[in-house]
């Protein structure tokens, strides 16, 4: 503190007013800075989401089109490839209520639909998990699955985002003989059968939550598929 303090600086109101002023100034600076970068952050979020959707179909699209897989998993090429291959659509209203707000249809240039992708959510151990489920056009098997947003324990449940965990859903049946597949968990070291999924060691709740999310989504989609078939 300076030695030549004014009388006002000795009053009990001074610290309050000073704190208030400093707060207003810094919050103001922060708001201005945030506003100026907000658009860039939002654009990046949107692009990474589109990349997630697209990479679920990367293998299939690469096989059909003959273009290298990296073109569908590279953030730089998203702007060109996403509008070309992915269409955002609304689900039909089933029994008076919309089942899912949005879904994505992946198709090649010849309008040949190769699969649908649904945004799925469910609760994990610490909070809501958001994922994307890509299925074949007949809704019978899973093309790919990924969790793109979660708040699970780092090093344990957060491993749901690791490639080995996500990739094991590829090609698994979702609906067979009009029945939804009930997946079960096996230890990480074990070799899983068709209806089994390797769980993350030390994160049983997160692993089973993922299964619950997929089963719930399969139930909803089965309903749509049955109605479509009628």
């Amino acid at each position: 503190m300076s030695k030549d303090k004014t009388a006002f600086q000795d009053t009990q109101y001074y610290p309050v007013i000073f704190m208030l002023l400093v707060t207003i100034i810094f919050v103001g600076i922060l708001s201005l800075f945030y506003r100026s970068t907000e658009k860039g952050i939002e654009a990046y979020k949107k692009q990474t989401y589109q990349l997630q959707v697209m990479s679920l179909f990367a293998d299939t699209l690469s096989n059909i089109t003959g273009i290298s897989k990296s073109s569908f998993t590279d953030l730089k090429e998203i702007r060109v490839n996403y509008p070309k291959y992915i269409k955002e659509m609304e689900l039909p209203i089933v029994m008076g209520k919309t089942i899912n707000k949005k879904y994505y249809a992946a198709s090649t240039v010849q309008d040949n639909v190769i699969g649908y992708c649904f945004d799925v959510t469910g609760s994990g151990l610490w909070g809501t998990m958001h994922g994307l489920l890509a299925v074949t056009p007949d809704f019978k098997s899973i093309i790919n699955f990924a969790i793109y947003d979660q708040m699970e324990t780092p090093g344990l449940g957060a491993r749901v985002e690791e490639p080995w965990f996500k990739s094991q859903f590829a090609g698994k049946p979702m609906i067979s003989n009009n029945l939804i597949t009930r997946f079960s968990l096996v230890p990480e070291e074990a070799a899983p059968s068709v209806n089994q999924v390797k769980q993350i060691t030390g994160a049983t709740i997160t692993s089973s939550s993922v299964l619950k999310i997929i089963t719930a989504a399969a139930g909803e989609l089965n309903q749509v598929f049955e109605l479509k078939a009628q």
């Binding site: 300076s2 600086q9 000073f18 704190m19 707060t23 952050i41 990046y44 780092p154």
Partner: protein, 199 residues
């Protein structure tokens, strides 16, 4: 003290990490890759420079009773600026650093320099002290991360140095290696520098 002395003291003689054992948490957490360490170091240098400068500039007007609240608010504001900047300009690195950028607020080095230096000295001196402390911290981070990245991934700053013949040491990628390396580093510096000086 001359400006050069201020810098050398805060960066080397009284280095926050190896002399004062401050900022250890982030020294252990973000040192698996050199790029992460460099960005973290730059974030801390930026925050230290501007928080020291601001705290020093308003030191004669800051009431003692709310001194620490003001310091935390100023440090917090600059850290949020760093966080927003990384999210907008370097989103991949921002994702890798995760919560550690926000945790710069609780990095003891920044509060330590604010209280020990900026609250008592002129703005320019405080700024130099901030640069020194930040460079000292970044130096430690880069030293540890260079060893961890080289042995753990066979690369430096992402460039492959060791070929495919190199068997990667997974312990170097995990947190315990940072404990060992930091301890060894502090031990060597204490023996080679401070003990020699004392005798």
């Amino acid at each position: 003290m001359t400006k050069k002395d201020i810098f050398i003291t805060s960066a080397f003689r009284e280095n926050s990490v190896w002399r004062q054992i401050l900022g250890i948490c982030s020294s252990l957490a973000v040192t698996n890759l050199m790029m992460n360490s460099l960005i973290m170091g730059l974030g801390v240098i930026f925050t230290l420079i501007f928080s020291n400068l601001t705290i020093s500039a308003i030191r004669n007007y800051t009431p003692r009773s709310v001194r620490m609240m003001v310091q935390v608010l100023i440090i917090g504001a600059y850290v949020i600026i760093v966080d927003i900047f990384l999210r907008a300009q370097l989103p991949d690195i921002s994702k890798q650093l995760g919560p550690y950028v926000g945790l710069i607020i609780t990095n003891c080095i920044i509060m330590g320099r604010a209280e020990a230096f900026a609250a008592k000295n002129a703005p320019l001196d405080s700024m130099i002290d901030g640069i020194g402390a930040g460079i000292g911290y970044t130096m430690v981070l880069l030293t540890i991360s260079s060893i961890r990245e080289l042995f753990g991934f066979g690369s430096l700053f992402g460039f492959q140095i060791l070929g495919n013949w190199w068997l990667k040491w997974s312990i170097m990628v995990m947190a315990p290696s940072a404990f060992f390396l930091l301890a060894i580093m502090i031990w060597i510096i204490n023996n080679k520098y401070y003990k020699v000086k004392a005798s």
